[in-house]
Symmetry: C2
């Protein structure tokens, strides 16, 4: 393992001062063509690569942005991460991901780790950190939040209206003639869950359909909890003709519960999800869902960070949930 080359080595064999090499590397000042040539060949022959750590220390900027995600293997977050990565792709910055696992302590720890590395900026994906904390954190370091709306930091949040999204989904079901519509909610602690639940309730009310608490069961956003929730709904009430699941993963679990009982989708029961995960368009039947453009939002978050870092004015980005009708929902047959 040969010692790695330094800028000094380059300077020495190019017979110039380290400053000059630095200037060429960074384009910080004009350098005579001859010296530039010498330096360039020196760099080439040594195979020199600047040490980003040292640059970071000297410049006071690490060229990395920290991303607090919740779980790298969660399909929804993964799409967003891919968007973030793509958004930084041709910039000089690079993202570093750390998972918070939906636990506030882990998220705080993630932020510690990231700030100890002096990341230049932070992207927070969902999570349980409170608004107040993030608001204060944003005073110390440029940050953008994805999937949440923080009062006083509106311009640095990328989110979509969950209520509106849920409303669109449930209205679709109602338009198809359903009125016994169950809801598999997310965990009550999660603000997206409550938003979606509200959307569900609002649309019911708007359509004069009484809200029946028996028709809502909570899960934890994972497939298995959707399956359990569906089973519970089925034993509670047999008049259900449609279910609105707070995310695609639980919809998938619910769909399996139905399959096991021989209940057909969409003929017997219609299902609608939320998120539009990539795989949802390949489920059987392809899932009707409310799309949250995860990748685009991630990409936008990266752009926003870049603007923040370069003190450009922030792009104003608006994302709206969007109903994607596929084959898991159908018109209610009057029986």
């Amino acid at each position: 393992m040969s010692r790695t080359r330094t800028l000094n080595d380059v300077a020495k064999i190019a017979q110039v001062s380290p400053s000059t090499v630095s200037r060429i590397l960074n384009g910080t000042a004009v350098v005579s063509p001859e010296k530039r040539k010498q330096v360039e060949t020196a760099i080439a022959t040594l195979g020199y690569r600047p040490n980003v750590m040292a640059q970071a220390l000297a410049k006071g900027r690490s060229m990395t942005v920290g991303v607090v995600t919740q779980a790298i293997s969660s399909p929804f977050y993964a799409e967003t991460l891919a968007g973030i990565e793509q958004g930084f792709a041709d910039s000089v910055y690079h993202p570093m991901f750390i998972s918070g696992h939906w636990r506030q302590d882990k998220e705080l720890e993630a932020i510690e780790i990231l700030t100890a590395r002096r990341v230049d900026s932070l992207i927070i994906l969902g999570g349980n950190l409170d608004d107040q904390y993030l608001l204060q954190l944003s005073q110390q370091i440029p940050l953008v939040a994805v999937g949440r709306f923080i009062q006083g930091l509106e311009n640095q949040c990328i989110h979509i209206d969950q209520i509106q999204g849920a409303a669109a989904g449930v209205q679709h079901l109602i338009d198809l003639g359903h009125h016994r519509i169950a809801h598999i909610a997310g965990p009550a602690s999660h603000r997206d869950s409550t938003g979606r639940l509200h959307g569900y309730q609002q649309v019911l009310a708007a359509n004069d359909i009484p809200f029946d608490p028996n028709l809502v069961v909570s899960g934890n956003f994972q497939e298995h909890s959707g399956l359990l929730a569906m089973e519970q709904l089925l034993t509670r009430d047999t008049s259900i003709t449609a279910v609105f699941s707070a995310n695609d993963q639980m919809a998938s679990g619910a769909r399996l519960a139905l399959y096991r009982r021989g209940i057909r989708v969409p003929e017997d029961i219609s299902i609608i999800g939320f998120d539009d995960l990539f795989g949802s368009s390949y489920s059987t039947p392809p899932l009707t869902t409310v799309r949250q453009p995860g990748q685009e939002m991630g990409n936008a978050a990266a752009q926003m960070v870049l603007s923040l870092l370069e003190h450009r004015k922030l792009p104003s980005l608006i994302f709206t949930p969007h109903l994607v009708v596929r084959e898991s929902t159908t018109r209610l047959r009057h029986s």
Copy 2:
């Protein structure tokens, strides 16, 4: 944005030398209880956090390990990444992920970026870099490869026998009485694809079933290509009773193609996948597949890196593919 505190600030207000503070932080030497106390309170009142960049520069170790993955949003890789992250969780190291998108140039670029940051070690997930290059790279930096087997670097590879896995899957189909078994292969350029194809052919031969080239179609490991492949198989040959897909994602696409034509799974056609993605156990019907323990392999890769970095002897880890029988395969009914 208040200037962030440095070790010197701490030293000053604790009335000790910077060296002493450093010693306490790193446990490098014994320090008298009083000084330790002074320093600790100083750290607490200042809210001091060491600058990892500066530490890295001084120690010559960045405490980060670079991971070259292929696509962060690919379900299989995402599981592996989660395993890696978990494997480093209570170490002082942190992973930094960069995607190569299955393109050699991007992978090389990823390695450049990572080494410019002086990562202490590298984990390579699959990809198209050639063995020779990696073997040479491993001379410069501790590296472990996941999902590939490199001659001369066997101890630093974590992989499973693709042939054996495919064989197990196909044998399962044969045991159920199938002999018209199609294969949806991965891209020919991908070594896992060829391994799985060989496994398929070997088992066919071992059971005296003639290999019919018409029964194999290649996809690109994405869902859509599986759908296309299935459609093609269906037009080519109507006697197919089972299909072995080179991964779960294509199996999912194939399953959709069948659904569209009203062909039942598993009653009319049995399907078996490869990987055992988390979502596969929630497909309709739950997919029979050959499990590749992505998360465990990722975790093992992290452990291996840690061993390498601490010069401990390498754990010898053997992973084997494992048939997971679910509901997408069934005994052939003699018609």
